[in-house]
């Protein structure tokens, strides 16, 4: 197996007024290809900072970071943009789709920046993969939260990256939709994608194969998940969303 993520003494400091906040200190993390990792911890624990660093959305204050064997801590902004475009797919808590722009155009964006030719075709494929083949021309405001997140996932996978990063990808969704999104992530993972998500919900984290816990900017615990939950099983036993509403009225 090859190493996708390899961090050595990774650190991030923020200057706030005359104080220096050590958001992340001395993080050693190695993630192999094909892993499904949850990053957990309370707010301010450094989990999001870590996520932004391994996603090349921010620059470390110290330490080294090797992505897919390449030392990315020394790259300039444009090289980092290319790295993000080629190797990483992002899924955000707030979806971050371009407003008033159709699903397929949103999914095409990374392909456009990559300079790919048959964009529409590949974007359509990606949308079909996340189960939105029927809604490719809908705009974000015409889609439910879960559907918007599916568009975001399609956008994340369309460039065929080695790493998919989810920053609280289920944070804005109800539990059933969250489960559906987790099923999608698990599906990607089974197909060989390395997936790393940040979450503060134990239920969500238990879908992953490994959990790294942060506290006060340091790694507190790093270990495998015993018997991970399969989202498909849970969905099978979940009541239909319509029935849930009926049950609410019954009470």
């Amino acid at each position: 197996m090859s190493l996708i993520i390899d961090t050595k003494h990774l650190a991030k400091d923020y200057v706030m007024g005359d104080m220096i906040v050590h958001a992340l200190r001395d993080a050693h993390v190695q993630i192999q290809a094909g892993e499904f990792v949850a990053i957990m911890g309370p707010s301010g624990s450094g989990k999001s900072t870590f996520m932004n660093l391994i996603g090349c959305l921010d620059r470390p204050s110290g330490g080294k970071y090797f992505l897919n064997g390449q030392d990315v801590s020394s790259l300039n902004d444009d090289q980092l943009a290319d790295i993000r475009n080629k190797y990483i797919g992002f899924v955000f808590q707030t979806f971050n789709l371009l407003p008033r722009t159709s699903a397929i155009k949103n999914v095409e964006l990374p392909l456009m920046y990559a300079g790919v030719k048959n964009r529409a075709e590949r974007a359509k494929q990606a949308l079909e993969e996340v189960g939105l083949g029927q809604r490719i021309h809908h705009k974000p405001n015409e889609l439910s939260g879960g559907q918007q997140q599916r568009v975001a996932i399609a956008r994340a996978i369309v460039n065929n990256p080695v790493l998919i990063l989810g920053d609280e990808p289920t944070g804005n969704l109800d539990s059933r939709t969250a489960e559906e999104i987790m099923a999608l992530f698990q599906d990607m993972n089974r197909k060989g994608k390395t997936v790393v998500i940040v979450t503060h919900e134990e239920d969500i984290a238990r879908h992953c194969k490994r959990i790294i816990r942060f506290k006060d900017g340091r790694i507190l615990h790093d270990g495998p998940v015993e018997d991970p939950v399969d989202a498909r099983d849970i969905l099978r036993h979940m009541p239909d969303p319509d029935e849930v509403i009926t049950a609410d009225f019954a009470v």
Binding site: N85, L98, Y113
Partner: protein
């Protein structure tokens, strides 16, 4: 990402944010349009005024009583008057006068049937037609020297008066009322295209003797008009006219009781007026330009948050700095060009419209177009690029979390 991709995505961004784009373009449209319209109308008015002078007559000198000096220090010598004998003096003393006539005038009402028109009635000898370039007739002919000698009640109508009283019918031979007397229309002067206070179309000419004795009861002249034989020697002629009149028409302290105006003076007077108008319009235009610019700025600044997040996202999924700058530059350029074009068309349209309504020539001032377009485009480009310039140098995560 190639150039056509950039164009397409810029257009898509404009179309996706129709309101924002429309408001931005509106700023450019207002700025450019108003400047072109205002400057065009101002220039047109100016040109028209100068044309009016040419219509009024060429090589013309006018002597008027100098009311400003007269009647102040008292005494009968201070009463500024012009009399028939002055014409005799001028004819004798100034050989370069081609034709000369005394003029009396008064604003009076004229009536044909149930149509009335209040207008300037000018009493002048028939040679006034030469002096005022009014020999081209629409109907009939001028009254004659015989009519002048006999103090006949005959009149020649300016074209505007004719239209007011007769529509487009036959006026020659008709009888109209001027004041409370009947006059026979002998001719209508062809349209000259004047406007404003000096409109040569809005006048009725009657023989000088008729006007003095029968219509207005004046013994003195209001003006003496003459045409000189040589336009290059206008100033010399003017000096001779002044010298000839100074012998009799001065007050006790030796100041002239008359003044002589040549066309240059009238042109200068008119230019001062039209310049004021032009400056006023230019002022209004610059305010519109400023308002348009502020409009562009507001829209762009209001959307900075949204746009900064958009840039964060675009960077997160792999857009390079120059790609983002190119996109925003293109977006702003397209909006400025489209808005500017609409503004130019609207401006030209209103110039054409107003020019027709005011009967002034439509004038297009290229400098004004370039200036207005340049200013609006600069404002548009700067504030269009502003969020991109700021956000593209942020780390993607900072731009994504911008509030």
């Amino acid at each position: 990402m190639n150039f056509s991709d950039s164009i397409v995505s810029a257009l898509r961004a404009i179309m996706a944010n129709k309101l924002r784009s429309a408001l931005t373009m509106l700023g450019v449209v207002i700025g450019v349009g108003s400047v072109i319209a205002m400057i065009g109308i101002g220039e047109g008015t100016k040109q028209k005024s100068l044309e009016n002078i040419q219509i009024m007559g060429s090589n013309m000198l006018t002597v008027m009583p100098n009311w400003r000096r007269g009647g102040v220090s008292g005494g009968p010598t201070d009463n500024p008057t012009l009399k028939e004998e002055d014409i005799v003096t001028l004819k004798r003393e100034v050989p370069m006068i081609n034709t000369i006539t005394g003029v009396v005038q008064r604003r009076m009402s004229s009536r044909n049937g149930n149509k009335t028109h209040f207008t300037q009635v000018v009493g002048a000898e028939p040679q006034v037609a030469l002096i005022r370039n009014a020999t081209k007739m629409w109907q009939g002919s001028w009254y004659t020297f015989e009519d002048e000698a006999m103090s006949e009640r005959k009149c020649v109508l300016g074209f505007t008066v004719y239209q007011e009283l007769f529509g487009d019918g036959m006026a020659e031979g008709a009888r109209i009322r001027i004041g409370n007397q009947n006059f026979d229309v002998v001719g209508v002067i062809a349209y000259k295209g004047g406007s404003g206070m000096w409109n040569p179309d809005d006048q009725i000419y009657v023989p000088l003797s008729t006007a003095k004795t029968r219509l207005m009861g004046k013994t003195n002249l209001d003006q003496i008009m003459m045409q000189t034989s040589n336009s290059d020697l206008m100033i010399v002629t003017q000096g001779q006219v002044e010298d000839a009149l100074m012998a009799t028409r001065k007050n006790a302290s030796g100041e002239p009781l008359f003044r002589v105006m040549n066309q240059g003076d009238i042109i200068a007077q008119m230019e001062t007026q039209t310049k004021l108008l032009s400056m006023l319009l230019a002022g209004i235009a610059s305010v519109s330009l400023l308002v348009g610019g502020i409009g562009i700025m507001n829209i762009m600044l209001v959307s900075v948050t949204e746009r900064t997040r958009e840039i964060g996202l675009r960077k997160a999924i792999g857009a390079r700095r120059e790609t983002i700058l190119a996109q925003f530059l293109l977006e702003s350029t397209v909006m400025c060009v489209v808005g500017g074009t609409i503004g130019i068309l609207l401006g030209l349209g209103s110039v054409a419209f107003v020019a027709q309504a005011l009967k002034v020539p439509p004038v297009v001032n290229t400098q004004a177009i370039i200036l207005a377009f340049g200013f609006s485009a600069l404002v548009g480009l700067f504030f269009g690029l502003y969020p991109a310039l700021r956000a593209s140098s942020l780390q993607p995560i900072q731009a994504l979390r911008y509030e």
